[in-house]
């Protein structure tokens, strides 16, 4: 379980998160909802270590940990960005296997075997040698999910997973997230889409804007 305690985050004097507390239970789906500008994405960026918090602590399975400095730790957080941020110069397969090879020191064969399993699982079979520009939005997102999963994270985070997709793809995203839950993946989903949140969430966390 991941616990956030008294997290405070300011940007140039403006407080975004103040004494924010939250628990992310294992193998469950936690959604973070709230109006735009409330700090949902900032919260996710703090959890994934892209932003340093001003104060507060992160506790993972009873041990304190610093997401902003987790380079040498075990794999903790995987992130699926709103705009996916696939690497345009690499094929689907290379997008997925790059980090496992460079960071986890997996062999080419090993990383490709693991990638293929995830590729098949997420219905991307046959797309391995395509470049990101040749994929649809939904396919790009699934590649981004596979790329994050290939690093064996303990927790997978999504930033607004429905916002860059056609509305009728929302259901597909729900199925993917619920499918990963069956595989015991702990997931955090930031969304402004209440209906989507309700459909998938075990727990809904609200982030409200702080009145200045």
């Amino acid at each position: 379980m991941l616990e956030l305690k008294n997290i405070k985050k300011q940007f140039s004097g403006r407080t975004i998160l103040d004494n924010f507390n939250m628990q992310v239970p294992d193998n469950q789906i936690t959604t973070i909802v709230g109006p735009s500008g409330a700090g949902k994405t900032t919260l996710l960026r703090c959890i994934s270590g892209l932003e340093k918090t001003n104060s507060g602590s992160f506790i993972l399975d009873g041990k304190s940990f610093d997401p902003a400095n987790n380079r040498d730790n075990d794999n903790v957080i995987g992130v699926v960005f709103q705009d996916f941020q696939l690497f345009p110069n690499l094929t689907v397969l290379d997008n997925i296997t790059l980090a496992p090879q460079l960071v986890l020191k997996q062999s080419k064969k090993e990383s490709e075997k693991q990638a293929q399993k995830l590729i098949d699982q997420l219905n991307l079979t046959g797309k391995e040698s395509l470049y990101p520009y040749e994929l649809s939005g939904g396919q790009k997102q699934r590649v981004a999910i596979v790329r994050a999963l290939a690093m064996n994270p303990k927790i997978l985070c999504y930033d607004e997973p429905t916002s860059a997709l056609d509305p009728d793809l929302r259901h597909t995203v729900e199925n993917i997230i619920l499918g990963l839950k069956k595989d015991n993946m702990t997931q955090i989903v930031v969304t402004h889409d209440m209906e989507f949140a309700k459909n998938i969430a075990d727990q809904i966390v609200r982030v409200e804007p702080i009145k200045a």
Binding site: N75, I77, F81, F87, V103, Y131
Partner: protein
């Protein structure tokens, strides 16, 4: 006429060889240096940025001809003595590195910061991110501008005459003055055209290589 051409061709080709040498080594050195320079120009360390900005301003703000003269005739005053050829290379590399640094800076700034973040959450190091992800994208963006400078470099190399090096244009000039005919200079023009044609062809191949992805 053919007889005359075959008579002057060896000296023109030896001049062309000097041109190619200057061209090749300048390119080999100043492209990587330009990448490093562009990283410095976008660095978080302010003094490093200032120094590099000054350097770029100096190199782009004064004629290459003047820089050649300063390197060869000026630096010995402060005890730095170059042979003619080394002086030419040094001045060309300094000058072209500045242009390439500016081109690469533009390329780096065109990269979505999300690419760095996405590499970061995958726990790639900064070096891995640059080499595997960012630099290939930057190169794709800058190839046309680098190509322009590359073609310019072939012709700029003729400036080395000012410090007494015998390049292609000088060889043609010498023959023209001696034999009172423009024919050597026509040949010089043709040889330059051939060299730029080769460079254009190679650049097109590079662009095609990077067209595999968008």
């Amino acid at each position: 006429m053919l007889h005359y051409v075959s008579e002057i061709l060896p000296s023109l080709l030896s001049g062309a060889w000097m041109t190619i040498n200057i061209f090749f080594w300048t390119l080999i050195a100043s492209i990587p240096l330009g990448i490093l320079g562009s990283l410095g120009l976008t660095s978080k360390i302010a003094p490093l940025r200032w120094i590099l900005k000054f350097y770029v301003w100096l190199m782009r703000g004064t004629p290459l001809l003047l820089q050649l003269i300063f390197v060869f005739y000026g630096l010995p005053i402060v005890g730095i003595i170059f042979q003619r050829y080394d002086a030419a290379l040094f001045a060309f590399i300094l000058n072209y590195t500045a242009y390439f640094a500016e081109i690469f800076r533009g390329g780096f700034q065109a990269i979505d910061p999300g690419q760095f973040e996405s590499a970061r959450v995958l726990r790639l190091t900064r070096g891995q991110t640059l080499i595997k992800i960012v630099i290939p994208q930057v190169v794709k963006i800058v190839v046309p501008s680098i190509g322009n400078e590359t073609i310019n470099l072939i012709k700029d190399s003729s400036l080395v005459y000012v410090i007494g090096l015998g390049d292609l244009l000088r060889a043609g000039n010498v023959a023209t003055a001696r034999d009172v005919t423009l024919l050597p200079l026509v040949l010089v023009g043709i040889i330059y055209l051939l060299m730029t044609a080769v460079a254009t062809f190679v650049l097109r191949k590079v662009e095609q290589h990077y067209r595999a992805w968008r």
